[in-house]
């Protein structure tokens, strides 16, 4: 058996990180005092899978570490230990530590052994300190409950006495195979007892007459041993007994309470074996399947709801039916069936569109993937800042493209940190201002139009326009005599080098960050807006396109060429007459749209289209567009039509072109360029 384990690593890491997230959110939601055993079970299971997985792949540092965590959790689960805030904090710390270890391993770096040892020590201190006070309860008498309770107890070794019934072999079980598996867990010593072997002439070769005493040395979990004997426990007399060593007594108090050798009773009549086996298998399987899912590793993968895949398969089915209908029609086509053909084509059209939508849907992930990390952040930061803060998450199930999910997370972290640090006041100040002591930060996501809007809202002190202004002037970012609108005032915080924090904290205040946040969001094709009321809090709204793969576009014609203008940036299209046009310094053309003077960008000039039909402004159309808050009129020959276009990268084989964000393929197979409005404006300014 020489399977290249490395191919499963990616899956293991992904699952482990997911497990860590589960643990983290579980720990944060633990209600002190009144502990839901199911909640602890969830955390425990996650830890257990990570341990199992890391053991399988030979990441012993991880599995050893998780093991200590697991012991702690196990005691909590059994009620042998109170769930206390310090314990939860230690566990949270160890979740972080595990995450670091795993990412170090994933990146092929060395694990920071010293740091890990320190964390492990903290865990062990917690383990030893807390539990000795609470006397273990009487262990459940026997059977499965007792097996569960001592599932994770570990000794320096186990003594297993294994006396199979005569027909063990008939059930297809092979002791030798089991011993081999045991041998993989640790150092195994096998003592065979052949007293039961009958004289040769009485010997039935299909029966098993041997019994064994096995000494398994090493830190092996009982659960692992149980797993091996799981299949045969009804066909044998089995006793698994811990070999207690001194070291363990000091280390793990629970050893004191060690159960008397647990004997699985052999009462089950043979007839029931068959009926009993299947459920057991089912119970044991999921855990194992999880540990080594045979999936080839890829650089990045996505988990998709099976429901989505089912819909997809249905649609492909329908598409195939439509296709075969059409090809049948094509074989003996007469003009009479033209209506049928039209119907068929309409169907084909609908199915393709639906299919496209559901394929896009596969890439959609709920925003909770991003939001889930915030409870922890707020928990940690609020205690660091000594503020009382409650985090509300709204609309976590709003779905958004995977790329957006990946890229939005850092900017959001930054915004939330800012809200906590600058927005929410100290509890005393809040009370003085007549506000509840507990500040609230709300993260909300919702769809609006073709966009997803994510809002970070706090009920803190709000932004002080005058202060922002003064600061900006102080830092030389703003001329003293410039008049700013409220909105422009707020936008000052996005300027590089701007910071309002009185002093630097490690949370925020260096004046880098907000400009990076805005740049990141703009690079995703989104924008960010601030609204605020002094004394009542502020709201930062991020607007992002739902997907980065498809765009609603308006095709426009300039000469023989077709360009796509993103529909979202179009405000209106107008015919203009000479009287609306003004020239600045004889060249720069502007036109008056209601109360605003907007520059005119002649597409045929900046893109050098020789075939343009309209060269006089009155001959063509002006498409009024908005690019990152700046408006202008694009002068084009004509509008062609609206359509959804699939975004294709120009850079994959070519390079960035100024004024063009990407390309798409039109219905006739030709390529059209998608315009980048801010880029176009830059281009026309040159």
């Amino acid at each position: 058996m020489s399977i290249d384990m490395a191919q499963f690593h990616q899956v293991f890491f992904e699952e482990s990180f997911e497990g860590l997230e589960v643990m983290e959110s579980g720990l944060l939601n633990l209600d002190m005092g009144d502990v839901d055993s199911e909640a602890i079970n969830t955390i425990f299971r996650a830890a257990h899978s990570i341990k199992g997985g890391s053991g399988t792949f030979g990441f012993t540092a991880v599995s050893d570490y998780t093991h200590v965590m697991e012991t702690l959790l196990d005691e909590m689960r059994d009620g042998r230990r109170q769930v206390t805030q310090p314990a939860v904090d230690v566990l949270l710390g160890s979740v972080d530590c595990l995450r670091e270890m795993l990412s170090a391993i994933q990146d092929g770096n060395d694990v920071d052994a010293a740091g890990v040892a320190e964390h492990k020590k903290a865990l062990e201190v917690e383990l030893n300190g807390g539990s000795s006070s609470s006397e273990p309860e009487a262990e459940p008498e026997q059977g499965t409950t007792s097996a569960d309770a001592s599932n994770s107890s570990v000794g320096s070794g186990w003594k297993i006495s294994f006396c199979p019934h005569a027909d063990l072999l008939k059930t297809g079980n092979d002791p030798v195979r089991m011993f081999r598996e045991l041998g993989e867990l640790g150092e195994l010593e096998v003592i065979v007892d052949f007293q039961g072997v009958p004289p040769l002439y009485d010997l039935d070769p299909e029966e098993c007459h041997l019994s064994w005493t096995l000494i398994l040395k090493g830190e092996v979990e009982k659960g692992d041993i149980d797993d091996i004997f799981d299949w045969v426990e009804d066909d044998c007399d089995l006793s698994i007994q811990k070999i207690i060593s001194d070291e363990n007594q000091n280390n793990a108090p629970e050893v004191n309470s060690e159960v008397a050798p647990e004997v699985v009773p052999e009462v089950v009549p043979e007839a029931t074996i068959d009926s009993k086996a299947p459920p057991k298998v089912a119970a044991a399987k999921p855990a194992k399947a999880k540990e080594s899912k045979p999936k080839p590793a890829t650089s990045s993968s996505i988990r998709v709801d099976t429901g989505k895949i089912d819909t997809l398969i249905n649609m492909v089915g329908e598409l195939v039916i439509t296709q075969s209908m059409l090809s049948l029609m094509g074989e003996n086509f007469t003009l009479d069936s033209i209506d049928q053909l039209k119907n068929g084509l309409a169907q084909l059209d609908r199915h393709t569109r639906e299919l496209q939508e559901s394929v896009m849907n596969i890439r959609m992930l709920p925003i909770s993937f991003v939001f889930s990390r915030f409870p922890r952040l707020v928990h940690d930061l609020s205690s660091k800042l000594e503020k009382k803060i409650e985090l509300k998450l709204v609309g976590e199930h709003t779905e958004v493209d995977k790329t957006v999910v990946e890229l939005i997370s850092d900017p959001l972290v930054h915004l939330v940190r800012n809200s906590l640090d600058h927005g929410i006041e100290m509890p005393a100040d809040r009370l003085a201002a007549g506000k509840p002591e507990m500040g609230t930060v709300t993260l909300e996501a919702y769809h609006r139009g073709g966009n997803i809007v994510i809002e970070v809202k706090d009920d803190g002190k709000g932004l002080d326009k005058d202060m922002l202004r003064t600061k900006a002037i102080e830092k030389g970012l703003l001329e003293p005599d410039v008049v700013l609108t409220d909105k422009q005032c707020y936008e000052l915080i996005f300027m590089a080098g701007f910071s309002t924090a009185e002093k630097l904290t490690d949370v925020s205040g260096r004046g880098v960050g907000m400009d990076v946040v805005r740049r990141n969001i703009q690079s995703l094709g989104g924008n960010i807006e601030i609204s605020s009321e002094l004394g009542y809090g502020s709201t930062i709204a991020i607007k992002l396109p739902l997907t980065l793969a498809i765009l609603d576009g308006q095709s426009v014609a300039v000469g023989d060429e077709t360009f796509i203008v993103p529909l979202g940036s179009i405000i209106e299209s107008i015919n203009i007459n000479e009287s609306m046009v003004n020239r600045v310094a004889g060249k720069g053309e502007t036109f008056r749209l209601r109360d605003e003077y907007l520059p005119i960008v002649r597409m045929h000039e900046i893109f050098d289209v020789s075939s343009a039909k309209a060269t006089k402004l009155t001959e063509g159309l002006l498409v009024v567009v908005d690019g990152q808050g700046v408006r202008c009129g694009l002068f084009v020959d004509d509008l062609l039509g609206q359509q959804q276009v699939v975004i294709k990268s120009l850079e994959a084989n070519y390079r960035r072109v100024e004024g063009v964000s990407s390309a798409t393929i039109l219905g006739d197979g030709s390529v059209a360029l998608i315009l980048d409005i801010p880029g176009l404006m830059r281009l026309s300014n040159q």
């Binding site: 060429e561 900046i606 893109f607 050098d608 289209v609 294709k648 990268s649 120009l650 994959a652 084989n653 070519y654 390079r655 960035r656 072109v657 100024e658 004024g659 063009v660 390309a663 393929i665 197979g669 030709s670 390529v671 059209a672 360029l673 281009l683």
Partner: protein, 173 residues
């Protein structure tokens, strides 16, 4: 880079003595590219123009869903331009630049043959001083008493700004 190509060629000599080149013509001159970098040969079809780029970058086409740039080799080599006809051919080349696979089409007059060239007979690009740019030429080969100008596909595909994101493994000295 040049050394690297030489190294590869040396290796190829050791395993088999000949290298296959696809030869095509530009006017009277005959050029060759390593057959392994040729993805396909297509007939010329209208391209979508890209604004504000050098004249030899004709534009982009849709190649089964991928946007692929097309460059005119005549114009790239400063030869006189000729009209595109039904016989004008686009050779689609593929290579790995900076660890990323890049595809590009080059417009040539016609494709003539696939030639086996004994790697040992390939001579280095001659030095014409500043008169003729030999930047894309990796060597000269003699095939049936004709001279084949061998092109370095990597350099050819490395348009200004293409694959400029990082320059780890493709640094040219």
């Amino acid at each position: 880079m040049a050394q690297e190509t030489d190294m590869q060629e040396v290796e190829e000599i050791q395993c088999e003595n000949s290298v296959q080149f696809l030869s095509f013509t530009l006017g009277d001159e005959e050029y060759g590219v390593d057959i392994l970098s040729v993805q396909e040969i297509r007939s010329w079809e209208p391209v979508s123009r890209i604004p504000n780029v050098p004249k030899y970058e004709k534009g982009v086409v849709n190649l089964r869903g991928a946007i692929v740039p097309i460059i005119d080799l005549r114009e790239r080599f400063n030869l006189e331009h000729s009209e595109y006809t039904n016989l004008t051919v686009v050779v689609v080349l593929q290579t790995v630049l900076n660890g990323v696979s890049r595809t590009m089409g080059v417009v040539v007059d016609s494709v003539s043959d696939v030639n086996n060239v004994d790697a040992q007979t390939i001579q280095g690009a001659p030095d014409f001083g500043t008169k003729v740019s030999t930047e894309f030429i990796s060597g000269l080969a003699l095939v049936d008493e004709r001279m084949l100008i061998l092109l370095d596909v990597k350099k050819l595909l490395k348009l200004d700004g293409v694959g400029d994101k990082g320059d780890e493994d493709d640094d040219e000295s």
